[in-house]
Amino acid sequence: MSTLLTVEGLSVRFSGLTALDDVSFTLEDGNVRAVIGPNGAGKSTLFNAISGYVTPTAGTVHLRGQELTRLTPHEIAEQGIRRTFQNGGLFPALTVLENVLTGLHAQTQGSFLDILLGRSKALKSEADNIHRARELLKLMSMDHMADTRAGDLSGGQQRIVEIVRTVASDPPVLLLDEPAVGLSPVARAQMMEIIHRLAGEKGVGILLIEHAVELVMAAADRILVMAAGARIAEGTPEEIREDRAVLEAYLGHS
């Protein structure tokens, strides 16, 4: 097991509001780390800071020892940290297949000129990517939906396609922002199964924001608990279950 992601002292301030306050943790390959905390705790801000969408006011992010802090979102994605969005990030007018293909953008061969002239180098790469995208959809039993507009899918199907698109390039690190929100219990279970498989079979390191505490306890190797931007607890599900601070601040017990 090796450390993929190292977050140290990460802080984000929005004109007076401290949305993220000195948060540190690591993520190992094949591990699922859940991030929990009440609404407004700064979970999405943590993801935005790691993936380059907001500039941290302090702290660093390293991927396998290489510093990524202050790179742009597409550069960070290219380095191997891929994410989904709390409100869904699919392209509704594109088909399911086209959506998954956008996840393979960075590994496409061929210059602008190669594409313009329809050179075989560009065509070959396109064919390879289409093949790969179809395989990925088959793995998730979504291949019969390949030609459907993403906007016409059900909420659960959209979440799954977004994950397929996000993992298409085999990224070492995945940030999933509430991937199971709004799903039926069956779809939720299916989603957790997918997350489990990605970590277990492919060795992906996964950061998972999720509200349903029972799901988190079952799916996560470690848990980071946040409130008001700060980390209030960190540990295995068993440790978190016992933690007084968590019980008081988050789980609402006395």
Binding site: S51, Y53, T72, P73, H74, E75, A77, E78, R82, R83, F85, G89, L90, F91, P92, A93, L94, T95, L97, E98, L101, T102, G103, L104, H105, A106, T108, G110, F112, I115, L116, L117, G118, A122, L123, E126, A127, N129, I130, H144, M145, D147, T148, R149, D152, R165, T166, S169
Partner: protein, 327 residues
């Protein structure tokens, strides 16, 4: 609802059809008189103008109205290069395209600085008017209100005032640029363009450099429309500032919409039909503009997605997607 995609056989037919159209058009000069040949040449110019426009406003989804500026830049570049520097007109076509691409670069700079939606619309409209002001006032270079005549020139011993010769050159340029644009849109680049339109933030999370995509789309659009400008300069033989005003912009916008936003096929259909329409409306003197407007509005009410959407329903051959299946 799953879209019906063309089968392998239909894809072959589509390729065949694509090349059959220009092949048949090679015979067109046999069926035209000088007047209708002139109209047909104008259609080819409009196809390229509409194609460039639909890329930025339809596929990329940016409210950018610098298209007529690109067109004027192309036409004046061609005229100035040919008349002042003696560059053979044929050579001025790619050069005019390059200047058009430069115009695209400038327009994208606004979008990349975060100027979007209505603000981008107004700033690109101002760009077009600024260019027209420049044509009027840079008199030594552009001839001001008198415009610029294209120099006499022959090609293979035929004068470049010959509309049949022009038709073959225009056709070759149009087919090349339409094919190149189709290649572009049916690649990972074309998908990235659509992705930026649909969700720019999510696009960046897929390691797609959104700024470069926006820049390249505007530049390719400017290139295509700049080339169209060079064709236009030869088409009319004399470049005037008035050709590049609001009227041209509105007409091209109508072609984009009637054909179908973001559709290459639609750009071709919209340009051909709306270039032909005024010729038929000549039978109603004084009512031409009114009828033109009513017909455009009628098509858009009946088919908000344009004529291309009608053909898509007829056969999957006309379905345009943003990937390219191996043959």
């Amino acid at each position: 609802m799953s879209q019906i995609m063309p089968s392998a056989r239909q894809r072959k037919m589509r390729t065949l059809l694509f090349w059959a159209v220009p092949a048949v058009l090679l015979l067109l000069p046999l069926a035209t008189n000088p007047y209708t040949q002139f109209i047909a040449n104008g259609m080819l110019v409009s196809v390229l103008v509409t194609l460039g426009f639909t890329l930025t406003i339809g596929n990329l989804g940016q409210l950018a109205f610098a298209n007529t500026a690109f067109f004027g830049i192309g036409a004046y570049s061609s005229a100035i290069l040919a008349a002042k520097l003696g560059v053979p007109w044929l050579l001025t076509i790619p050069l005019a395209g390059a200047f058009g691409a430069l115009g695209g670069f400038l327009a994208s700079a606004a979008a990349l600085r975060g100027i979007r939606t209505y603000y981008l619309a107004i700033i690109t409209l101002a760009f077009g008017e600024l260019m027209r002001w420049a044509y009027l006032h840079a008199k030594p270079l552009t001839g001001g209100t008198d415009g610029m005549p294209m120099p006499r020139e022959t090609l293979l011993g035929i004068s470049l005032t010959d509309d049949t010769l022009k038709f073959y050159i225009f056709l070759a340029v149009t087919v090349l640029l339409v094919k190149a644009t189709l290649n572009l849109m049916r690649s990972h680049f074309g998908r990235a363009v659509m992705a930026v339109r649909e969700n720019e933030i999510a696009t960046a999370s897929l390691a797609i450099p959104t700024a470069r995509v926006i820049l390249a789309t505007f530049m390719w659009s400017g290139f295509v429309v700049g080339c169209a400008g060079a064709l236009f300069a030869r088409h009319v033989g004399h470049v005037f500032p008035e050709s590049f005003g609001m009227l041209h912009l509105i007409a091209s916008f109508a072609m984009v919409l009637v054909g179908g936003l973001g559709s290459v096929l639609g750009a071709v259909l919209g340009a051909v039909l709306l270039t032909a329409l005024p010729e038929y409306l000549r039978a109603f003197p004084g009512m031409e503009e009114l009828f033109f407007g009513l017909i455009v509005a009628g098509v858009l009410v009946a088919m908000p997605m344009g004529l291309a959407s009608l053909l898509r329903r007829v056969s999957p051959i006309f379905v345009e997607r943003f990937y390219r299946e191996a043959p």
